[in-house]
């Protein structure tokens, strides 16, 4: 029982990470109706920037916010310079561009920072938390940070006029343009926010998995699984899905399929959800007009 509890709580901790990346995926999907395969690598690259800043002597929290700002600009730039100029609606071409971005971020990070594994600091204290051994301070901190990010995003979209404009631009670009919303900039803003959320996830996951250019490959898959379970257009669902996937991964890994096949859980979840309930738990059903 105690071991089981350990697995569940450990799962919640990694689930928080999946939740943040899933949240970033959902944000880009909401703004553009695309699945961003480069999301994980963008987060990884931002985390390297944070690492470089911290190594240069910048205090952790200053580096944290500087990195978020950097990631925001990065996302903005990708939309403004790359995605906006691609005049195609062909899904194949868009996916190819995303894969191109993924490969570029991965190789540039490897080129600049080398492929050796690096230790990334945690802002939270070390040692046991309140004398229990289930949850480390960093894991609890990561969960809290995820929840704070979710709340901030929810408040932004719910209470600010900019958030309203972004939702409008995503839902109906044509009418939004007519009422004076600059749709292209709203899309860029969506990319920027998603990249910033991804950067937070990267900085929270790096102390656990260590920093290297390939650290996000598995996490991205779990995040996709999480986003699909929650419903690709539901931010709250993505967060819940993230925690669910984290727990499922740990419990199934420990008791059913074994640790080596943990990624197989993501594969089965992704295909299973797409086949059985493509709209996820909280997503809206997509209807296409013939």
């Amino acid at each position: 029982m105690e071991a089981f509890l350990h697995q569940v709580i450990g799962g919640l901790a990694t689930g928080g990470i999946y939740a943040s990346v899933a949240l970033a995926l959902v944000m880009i999907h909401q703004a553009t109706h695309l699945l961003n395969f480069a999301q994980g690598e963008m987060a990884m690259f931002s985390t390297y920037i944070a690492w470089a800043l911290i190594n240069a002597g910048v205090p952790y929290w200053a580096a944290f916010f500087l990195t978020i700002a950097f990631a925001f600009v990065l996302g903005l730039a990708i939309q403004h310079f790359v995605m906006r100029n691609i005049r195609t609606t062909s899904v194949l071409q868009l996916v190819i561009v995303f894969i191109g971005l993924l490969v570029i971020f991965n190789s540039v990070a490897g080129w600049i920072f080398t492929y050796t594994i690096k230790v990334f600091p945690s802002p939270f204290p070390k040692g046991a938390l309140w004398g229990q051994k289930y949850l480390s301070p960093h894991e609890l901190g990561a969960i809290c940070v995820t929840l704070v990010v979710l709340t901030l995003l929810w408040a932004f979209f719910r209470f600010t006029s900019l958030g309203l404009a972004m939702r409008a631009a995503a839902q109906n670009p044509g009418s939004s343009r007519l009422v004076g919303i600059r749709v292209a900039w709203m899309l860029a803003l969506g990319w920027g926010l998603a990249a910033a959320v991804g950067a937070v996830a990267g900085m929270m996951v790096a102390p656990i998995v260590y920093l290297d250019p390939n650290m996000m490959a598995g996490i991205l898959l779990y995040a996709f699984a999480a986003a699909l379970i929650g419903g690709i257009d539901s931010p709250g669902g993505a967060v819940l899905g993230g925690f669910l996937v984290g727990v499922l991964e740990n419990v199934l890994g420990a008791y059913v399929v074994g640790n080596e096949l943990k990624l197989g859980v993501a594969l089965v979840l992704i295909i299973g959800v797409l086949l059985v309930k493509p709209s996820g738990l909280f997503g809206s059903v997509q209807v296409t007009r013939v």
């Binding site: 395969f37 899904v91 071409q93 996916v95 894969i99 490969v103 570029i104 996709f224 295909i271």
Partner: protein, 340 residues
Amino acid sequence: MSAVVPAAANSLSPAASRQRLQWIGLAVLLIAACALPFLVSNYRTFQFTLVLVYAIALLGLNILTGYNGQISLGHGAFYAIGAYVAAIMMDRFGMPYWSTVPIAGALCLVVGFLFGLPALRLEGHYLALATFALGVTMPQLLKNKAVEKWTGGVQGIVIVKPDAPFGLKLSPDQWLYLFTLAITVVMFVIGWNLIRGRVGRALVAIRDHPIAASAMGIDTARYKSLAFGVSAMYTGIAGSLGAIAIQFVAPDSFAVGLSIGLLTGIVIGGLASIPGAIFGAIFIQFIPNIADHISKAAPWAIYGIFLIGFMFLMPMGINGAIRLGWARLRHRIPAQQKGG
């Protein structure tokens, strides 16, 4: 107007002459390909063997992604299955190398067809995502303890390069090149016949307008899962040939990078083009080797830049660019003759 009419009036003879030119070009190319191993070193021969292997895999991926419009980011998984079939049959069961190729193809046909059945319900991004997950997961499945008895786990399997049969005075590399070349030619002829016929038109129709295609009576589900199976079969055959040439298989050689490399190959060679598979194969075999001298990361950076650059500048790939250039040249020359 005057320039168009004469061209249209005797359109038959230029078309026929162009076709003859194409046949002659193909024959010259084939003779050159046969002569190649006797002109270059064994190592270069080995590299060209891999070009042929990639060409088969790219043709397979192109049937699925280029012609049928189903995106696969996980074809490395089928390549891995083919490679492991060859390695396990040769190493564990002592089967001859040539017998592994059809079995790898048959197994991948079945696996691809079965994966294609659920994939029928997925479109666009979601299919890309599902296949991406397959590609990322494959190395882990191969490392799994349950199958370690056959796959050799992380260490992989070392196999022996076959010697030339019938007492032919060829080095193993030369023989393997010619063996691979023969299979490549067969696979390309099959692929060409498949694409230019009824099946190929059905595949393209499904890609361009699935609703119209099914309204015309094309069994969309059957053709799509068939395309998946055939495509996986090509890639599996390539995988088995690749394993025999490299003499080694290990899970980490079939990471998601392989799938991305194959995708890069068809984009650069040309989506929905048969010669494009060869251009793409030459690219993914030689460009990373050259770029490797700059930095370990450089080959991938080049892949990425080429992927995005081609989508911006040459969405039809090298093959499309050559056709375009050729068409422009042909239009210019008669125009000049008329003017002069």
